[in-house]
């Protein structure tokens, strides 16, 4: 019964994930707010009906998904480039590796405050650059069409090192013999990248993708500090909406519904991206 050895880990997961999840599912079918005196009263799925008709929930879902996809894609591309660079042997590599990790080591709220000032109009450095090139004020944080891109920049800056670290670990598992054999057969470096590096790195790319997708989908602190969800609610994320419902409005029933709703969306998205990658892998016959 070797499976028994998994029991402690399974119990721990049940404790920290299972119980809250069940509790939230239970809360999501109850009215529990300041109006009910913080007492849970079953409300027969009224929360879920409200969620489906809640424009704001769907708007936030779309915004969160947009934020997550754009920032995670950029992070994967940039991280791949950085990981390839850091995998090469060159002088001072150790120092650069350490420096690369710095943004990730910084608390999000601190760096988000930093970005808020970097994008500040008129005193931030970005605006000063605009002045230098005689451009009109950019007003990056006051334009609902572009403010979300500023939050993407903040997120990419902060978490690219994390993805780079995963990919670097992946690169180091690829044996050198494979490259030697490939070159011996007359392959060039470009082909080596596409035929050896990328296929063998795929599990790590998938890992980075799923990790980051889940994180980016729950983005909270960065948005809260940089924009507070504005302007015109254009940067509000699902986590921010759930937080507002719980901590500001004291509506725990509906907050739980938003949370479970966004959790289901996330599971769906992760499953979907995994399927896409898994299928393409099979179609191309990379493995086997």
């Amino acid at each position: 019964m070797i499976q028994l050895l998994l029991l402690p880990a399974a119990l721990l997961i049940a404790l920290v994930f299972g119980i809250p999840l069940i509790r939230y599912c239970w809360l999501s079918v109850h009215a529990n707010s300041v109006v009910t005196g913080l007492v849970a009263i079953p409300n027969h799925g009224a929360n879920w009906l409200r969620l489906f008709n809640d424009e704001r929930f769907w708007q936030d879902s779309a915004q969160t998904a947009r934020f997550a996809f754009v920032s995670v894609s950029l992070e994967l591309l940039l991280a791949l480039a950085i990981a390839l660079l850091l995998d090469q042997r060159w002088r001072g590599r150790g120092v650069v590796r350490a420096i690369t990790l710095l943004p990730w080591a910084l608390p999000t709220t601190v760096m988000a405050l930093g970005w808020r000032w970097i994008f500040n109009t008129p005193y931030g450095p970005i605006e000063q650059l605009a002045v230098l090139f005689r451009l009109p004020p950019l007003n990056i944080l006051s334009n609902p069409d572009i403010t979300w891109l500023a939050t993407v920049v903040g997120d990419v800056w902060k978490t690219t090192p994390f993805v780079a670290l995963i990919l670097l670990a992946g690169l180091q598992t690829i044996p050198n013999d494979l490259y030697e054999a490939f070159y011996l057969e007359g392959g060039n470096p470009r082909a080596a990248f596409f035929k050896v590096t990328l296929p063998l790195l795929q599990p790590y790319l998938l890992l980075g993708l799923l990790f980051r997708l889940a994180q980016a989908f729950g983005v909270f602190d960065l948005i809260q500090v940089m924009t507070g969800g504005g302007p015109a609610s254009s940067t509000e994320s699902l986590a921010l909406y759930a937080y507002l419902n719980a901590m500001r409005f004291l509506d725990f029933g509906y907050s739980a519904t938003v949370m479970i709703g966004s959790f289901l969306l996330l599971v769906f998205i992760c499953l979907f991206s995994w399927l896409v990658i898994y299928q393409t892998r099979h179609l191309r016959g990379v493995f086997k």
């Binding site: 009215a31 707010s33 300041v34 109006v35 009910t36 005196g37 913080l38 009263i41 500040n120 109009t121 008129p122 005193y123 004020p137 007003n139 944080l141 006051s142 334009n143 609902p144 403010t147 924009t227 507070g228 969800g229 504005g230 302007p231 015109a232 609610s233 254009s234 507002l244 901590m247 500001r248 409005f249 004291l250 509506d251």
Partner: protein, 421 residues
Amino acid sequence: MNRRTGWGLALFLVLTSLAVLTSWALSLRPIRINVLMPASFADQTTELVRKFNADHTGKINLRVTRGPLETEAVSDLAISSLLLGKSPFDALLIDVTWLPKYAAAGWLAPLDPWIDQQAIDSLAPGAQLGNSYKDQIYRWPLVADMGLLYWRTDLMKEPPKTPQELLEISQRIQQEGRVPYGYVWQGRQYEGLSCVFLEVLDGFGGKWLTPGTDIVGLNSPASQKAASWLRKLISSGVSPKAVINYAENETLQLFKSGDAALMRNWPYAWGEVQKTNSPIKGKVGVTTMVAAPGHKSTATLGSWGFSILKGSSNPDAAAEVIAFLTSTYAQKQLFLKNSYTPTKAELFNDPELLAKSTILPILAEALQSTEQRPQTPLYAQISDVLQRQLSSILTGKSNVNTAMDRAQRNTEQILLAAGET
């Protein structure tokens, strides 16, 4: 009596006397009172706390928990501890908008046993507001806070009195090239925007929510005028477009740098612009917010005050702490050292205070015309609705009529849904 019973009796006696002694010693131990305050208040009351503890040695030991700096983060901390059941705090320093919510949640103890009519009468008129919910007092004010209009005395002779004058004066000064911006205020999608709007709305003769009723006035003509005026400030260039993401800090920074002629802010900004390193030191005046002809100028009531938690095991001691921290003596110290606006009426005529601050009479005047934000446990929700719609107006995403109609509808829905439950 054999030997064994003798020993047993002795042991019993020793143990009993030990227990009696310990409980006596414990009863002598001072009662510990723990108060949660936002960081800035915790820092600035250190001396008062030391004095209180020196005066109450062996009786009450006051501990202040230094909370986060940001207002809502303090609320998050307090709420988290309250939700867990047994809160470690005996009293909280709370913002005026939290009171109905906390009281409705059943977290606060009514202060009526400790407060009489005489105490209420000793407060300045504006400070008497925002302390009760459903006719019971739950909060005792420490600091008064209200929205003010700051103006540059070197750029204009008189501050604007009406919204129209504000536009004209700003534009004239900007055209003369003396400052790049006219008027800066808090336009970020957050609570500050609701405060800004309330002042303008009342200044045009409108009402957000009529007290004691569910009558919402967000799509009234006055409300549309107010929202249009805010939009016009941005579209006409009187306010920089960047105010759409400005909170108090950014607003103050731009005004303090000398790049704006007018600013809406709270009393704390006065201390900041009068600092020796301020480029506009001595060039700033303070007045009350503009209002359309025939309407009263209005200041949004801020203000912080102490509440006792229902779960406190020593409410009497907590009340003693609050009485000291809000006493005339304490308020005087806080004003002289930190420019905290007092709440006791007599202090506004105190010669020592008047000598230190030229703006005290203006604060007193503004305190006469304060307006509260809607007093309902659902305030956070309806304020959030308003902020969303105002932000979409300011960014030009929606036109005024559509957005204010939506704000009206959403607010009514929230109030209606609460009534049904």
